[in-house]
């Protein structure tokens, strides 16, 4: 084999990528050939020196530029969320229609009173949050089975999350601009109106399951509104 062929393999040789037979073949050649040995030594030297090259430090202003770009991007994102909310909630027709629809539904449902459902026997998954279950919602049977009033539990949990988000919003609210404040008040008024209709209906017919579901839906809508505004 010519020197050129051996030289083509020198990089793989110094990187340890040749098979045992190939490696011995190249090794024997460079022991005999001064030119190829010199080339091999130089390639090793370049590789070694390259591994010792230092790392460079970017200017301290680079992080400031990155942080500023992130802040601008976040503000733009907040704006997009707010614009979306505004388009949705600022339409008076929507807010009025939503409240009227709930009122009509509550009225209609009250005409069809349902029989009172008893508590449900359920198997709780290991992931259930026991801390979120209030004792009044649990009923321990003499057999050891635990009865859980499911819809009530869910609304209790949502209520707790609503309270937590309301506390978060109270901290952020002083920093909102006037537009955000108006948007929030309108959104909240609409869901509160729906919740009030549901509560009135449930006072007259506490066991109406459809009314309960409607109430649960209105609570979830409130939770969603609070979640979105808590991020602003």
């Amino acid at each position: 084999m010519s020197c050129a062929k051996y030289q083509d393999r020198l990089s793989e040789y110094i990187d340890g990528l040749l098979s045992e037979g190939e490696r011995l073949d190249v090794e024997q050649h460079i022991q005999r050939c001064g030119n190829c040995r010199a080339l091999c030594d130089d390639l090793l030297y370049i590789r070694q020196l390259s591994r010792e090259l230092p790392e460079y430090e970017p200017s301290p202003q680079l992080w400031e530029r990155i942080a500023a770009a992130i802040a601008a991007e976040t503000r733009a994102g907040d704006r997009r969320v707010l614009d979306g909310l505004r388009r949705w909630w600022m339409r008076p027709a929507f807010a009025a229609a939503a409240a009227v629809l709930i009122a009509v539904l509550v009225g209609a449902l009250l005409r069809f009173r349902s029989p009172a459902p008893g508590p449900q026997e359920v198997r709780l998954s290991p992931s259930v949050q026991w801390s979120a279950l209030t004792p009044s919602l649990l009923e321990v049977q003499p057999t050891g089975l635990i009865l859980v009033h499911k819809p009530a539990v869910e609304s209790e949990i949502i209520q707790q999350r609503i309270e937590m988000l309301e506390r978060q919003i109270q901290q952020r609210r002083p920093f909102w601009d006037a537009e955000t404040e108006t948007c929030f008040r309108r959104a909240l008024e609409t869901v509160e109106r729906s919740l009030a209709h549901c509560r009135q209906g449930l006072e007259r017919d506490p066991e109406n399951v459809v009314l309960r579901e409607l109430y649960l839906g209105a609570l979830k809508a409130k939770l969603e509104v609070l979640k979105r505004f808590s991020e602003l």
Binding site: E12, E55, P58
Partner: protein
């Protein structure tokens, strides 16, 4: 009696994976920590590939847009993922400038038999300058392999070429560097 030990993690003790997840969730402090950990390597690679500090900082800054993208799922080492992004940015930058990363074969790649003169003792400045004079196709493979320590398989995946191409470009890069360092350009 059962004793419960509460271990609170400090920012320094989070892994890259944890910091990346926190960054993706919008935690700026976690992203800043990731930046502190990797800024030198990323910036140095950009600087050596592009040859000037302004472009290198621009590319390093551009990486910030990836902080929220959930493409890093911890399957690969974070640094490999980060370097792939960095290399992509550099390739895009070159593409905009009309530089194509095709397999480079310089005219005059000949048998080195006629070049017995060994290299002089080098300093790193001479080596840095020589690296800067390599054609882009040679330079990127050389930097990733010899400076950053990546394997040919990883480089091939980053650059979208074959392992054989990566090996041959590296060998040609080393030969070209030798000539440059011998003053034969």
């Amino acid at each position: 009696m059962l004793c419960e030990t509460v271990v609170t993690k400090t920012a320094d003790s989070f892994t890259d994976l944890e910091l990346a997840a926190q960054s993706a969730a919008g935690d700026l402090a976690a992203f800043e920590r990731l930046y502190e950990l990797h800024r030198r390597r990323v910036y140095s690679l950009c600087l050596r590939m592009l040859g000037n500090a302004t472009d290198a900082e621009d590319i390093t800054q551009v990486l910030q847009v990836f902080r929220r993208i959930g493409t890093f799922r911890g399957e690969a080492a974070f640094t490999t993922w980060l370097y792939r992004l960095t290399v992509n940015q550099v390739l895009m930058h070159w593409r905009k400038q009309g530089i194509r990363l095709e397999e480079t074969t310089e005219e005059g790649d000949v048998n080195e038999v006629a070049r017995p003169r060994p290299l002089p003792i080098l300093d790193r400045i001479a080596l840095e300058q020589a690296i800067r004079r390599l054609p882009p196709g040679y330079r990127i493979v050389f930097l990733l392999h010899d400076v950053e320590g990546y394997e040919h398989e990883e480089i091939a995946a980053m650059l979208g070429c074959s392992v054989g191409t990566s090996k041959s470009q590296l060998h040609k890069a080393r030969l070209k560097l030798r000539r440059l360092l011998q003053g034969e350009g």
